[in-house]
């Protein structure tokens, strides 16, 4: 028998709970927990829930972004970033998280799923270092 992947399980959970509310949703959740317990997968529940979250986000057109910058960004900058991301990924909604990291020196690092756009000075300095070492 072939192994069921985390992705398959997450897909099944997402379909099972889709469009349900109240008592129905409660029952669906109970089924899910029973299934995970039976398959001895409760230890991997974080991983599975992450995957379910990604599936639901994809269906709802939600894109989650993480923005790291050396200084805090003002409302205008944040709005501009979100508009650009919305346009690039065709998202309906953007859920953003803004973090400060002084080590980045300047610029910003935007992480969307497994894609990264790094415009920080730290990254540029690292690239320069690699370039000079390889010369």
């Amino acid at each position: 028998m072939s192994k069921i992947s985390i992705q398959n399980i997450a897909q099944a959970i997402a379909s099972h709970t889709a469009g349900k509310a109240g008592a129905d949703l409660e029952r669906a959740n109970k089924d899910t927990i029973q299934f995970l317990s039976k398959k001895k997968l409760l230890g991997r529940s974080d991983e599975i829930l992450d995957a379910v979250g990604k599936i639901i986000d994809k269906e709802d057109g939600v894109v989650r972004i993480k923005v790291l910058s050396a200084k805090s960004l003002d409302g205008h900058d944040k709005k501009e970033i979100e508009e650009n991301i919305k346009h690039k990924y065709g998202a309906k909604e953007i859920v953003s998280e803004y973090l400060e990291d002084k080590d980045l020196l300047g610029g910003m690092k935007i992480i969307v799923g497994d894609e990264i756009l790094d415009t920080t000075y730290r990254n540029k300095l690292d690239q320069l270092a690699t370039h000079l070492i390889n010369k």
């Binding site: 985390i6 497994d114 894609e115 756009l117 790094d118 415009t119 320069l128």
Partner: protein, 500 residues
Amino acid sequence: MTKNNIVENLRKEIENFKADTKAEKIGHVVEVFDGIAKVSGLSDIKASEMVTFANGVEGVALNLEEDSVGVIVLGDFSKIREGDEVKATGKILEVPVSDLQIGRVLNALGMPIDGKGAVKTDKTNPVERVASGVMSRQSVDQPVQTGIKAIDALIPIGRGQRELIIGDRQTGKTAIAIDAILNQKGQNMICVYVSIGQKDSKLRKIETRLAEGGAMEYTIIVSAGSSEPSAMSYIAPYTGVAIAEHFMDAGKDVLIIYDDLSKHAVAYREISLLLRRPPGREAYPGDVFYLHSRLLERACRKNKDYGGGSITALPIIETQAGDISAYIPTNVISITDGQIFLETDLFYKGVRPAVNVGFSVSRVGGSAQIKGMKKVAGTLKLDLAQFRELEAFSQFGSDLDDATKRQLERGKRAVEMLKQPQYSPIVVEHQIITLYALVKGMIDEVPVEKIKEFEIGLVAYAENNAKTFLKDIRETKMWTDAGEAELKQAIGDYKAGFLS
């Protein structure tokens, strides 16, 4: 370089430097063990795509699974930690290639390891490339002279051919390969020696030997030592052929030696098992045949429209107790265009190179021999086969007829004549002279123990007394009746002097 110059150069480099800002795919290390990393994320990654770990170490994506990517780490994996960021580069594994690599010793990634400084090049070749198609090829008809009589006469190798060297440990497999490289001086050939999982001391010895023979002027060594991770051993032959293709594409002839593919298969087995690929026969993965076939298929002779270059491959396989029916030997035998089989028994009997003429074959055969060699080598293989048969038979009784005795005596002389010390390749015209004397029965009266002495003397004598013959062979590679008559005369004269 003065201090001011250093500062000035650095300033110039920094001014000209342009940082590259683009969206990159990233993943995170889930687990890392024995040179393998499992990475989450990295969606859209291609098979054999290069990735970079946080500490600058590179890797290659080999297993693309639903939730993760299996990466082989091409470097020190001890500094990679769980959770480290991994960047996809979007590039298939490439190695630098350049004419400046000639005379250098490189690692499996094409970087010099001989301490002679960097090789500056902008050109790279992909490590994995589909072999040349049918329409760009040409049949093999030009010889590669190895300088070894037993091979050039009986198992001729052509430019673009793949000839396997197979035998147990300590039977002289590498020695044949090294002799073949040494003999390429002035033959318009670039040599690439790929050392896979060999001891560093052995490699050093080989490099010194090649340098002493002046062969490093046209040779590149690619090495993945036994202390390096198995990923390097897996990559090394592909790196070697990627470099060889650079020269072939420029219309040059290349001789590439893979020493040895048994260790390559073992390295690939290790990687495959660590990547949890299902084991098959002898625990090798199912695609171990493809591993070698796609590598050796890249050896070819291109036709004139495609530059006319060639890659001749001499893979080496080490057998266990002479068993050529094991998995990897049978695979590689079926892929190559023939094999040179070396035997321990012959080696200890003093027949060196210990080539078993019966088991050895070249499927290209006579079309890769010059006319003169074809003429003299025609009956030699048959003579030797008959000799082996009669030799076994003659052990049962001493009452033999004259014809059989004559054949046995001729066989003994042939075996003696095909013996050749290591690192002393013989040019083809000298081989022709001695083999002509043998097959025409002109040395039947010379005692077996004096054959070597006779051979050396005859070559020296012919240099002065068979000048037309030698000129014909050297310049036009042609065999003329006048030349043959002159050679016959010279051999007769020398023999008369030698025996008196």
